[in-house]
């Protein structure tokens, strides 16, 4: 019984520490860029009937910390990538300065649309908690 109580206390302390970290630690990334690349050979794979999905239909960015979309076409042929067509070896860098939801017509997706959600930088403890909760949910879902 005493052992069980100790485990519960340790578990509670662990959850508290995790929540405290999630609420207080500033949200940071190694880079402001969210990078998506079309690897070499993608066109050949698609021609062979392989369904290759590179760009998700929904992309989540965070203002001031992770707010630049960088697309690269490393394949040997031009390809529609995100909102536009890109030449082999070309990259497209799209910065965002306003938190909002951006929709682009995109033939590469079944829905015909690509959505980029740019969220405000989470500065308050509650905003950080919420931000990390959504990020965790997105990673698991």
């Amino acid at each position: 019984m005493k052992g069980l109580r100790l485990v519960a206390i340790a578990l509670g302390a662990g959850v508290f520490c995790a929540m405290a970290w999630a609420a207080l630690a500033p949200v940071s990334f190694a880079s402001r860029e969210e990078i998506f690349e079309i690897p070499k050979g993608t066109w050949a794979r698609r021609m062979a009937g392989d369904k290759v999905e590179i760009l998700p239909a929904k992309i989540r960015l965070t203002l001031n910390v992770h707010d630049v979309l960088l697309l690269r076409n490393l394949d040997d042929v031009p390809q529609v990538f995100g909102p536009t067509v890109m030449m082999p070896g070309q990259s497209f860098r799209l910065p965002f300065e306003v938190a909002s939801s951006y929709s682009f017509a995109c033939t590469a997706h079944v829905s015909g649309q690509m959505t980029i959600i740019v969220e405000p930088q989470p500065l308050s403890p509650w905003a950080r908690l919420r931000w990390r909760g959504i990020a965790l949910w997105d990673a698991v879902a």
């Binding site: 979309l69 529609v80 909102p83 536009t84 067509v85 890109m86 030449m87 070896g89 070309q90 990259s91 497209f92 860098r93 799209l94 910065p95 300065e97 306003v98 909002s100 951006y102 682009f104 017509a105 995109c106 033939t107 015909g112």
Partner: protein, 192 residues
Amino acid sequence: MNRLILLAASLLLVVASARADDAATLKAGTFDPPRAAPDFGLPGSNGAEVRLSAYRGKVVLLGFGFTSCAAVCPITLGTLGQVFKKLGPQASDVQVIYITVDPDRDDAARMKKYLTSFNPTFVGGTGSEAQLAAVRKDYGIAAEKVAGPDGSYNHSSFIYLIDREGRLRALMPFGHLADDYVHDVRILLAAP
């Protein structure tokens, strides 16, 4: 004393270079390396052929839409109208070309009337469905007719920025303010 002057000069240099970097960064999404913007020749709203290469030497703002568009095109063209006002005399070095995705309704006369309401210098491009589809393919433009009585279209809503040498430099997503366009157009106009 000399050290102080040197320090002040260094600080000024750092600030100046930071401001220069800021000025050189476009608000729009940029292509690296930029490619030559695919040329096209379409029946124009001005009664002549609208050919992209004829505007070499100007910065071209290229968009796709249709005159019956209720949601996107009036906002975009209204913004571009503001851009021209804000540019002042520099606007003479800029050309807006708007290509229809709705050739059944958008003939040259209708496009002229519509575009002139935003700015008399704006030029529209129309043509056969096949001609327009070929241009859209070159630029990666999506356009899909929406089922319903009003014959609306879902279409790419951004504006391409093409520099004086005819290179496709950037893509401005829908929703940007006129000041963002003015910022980027001035950078492209100033480029050697």
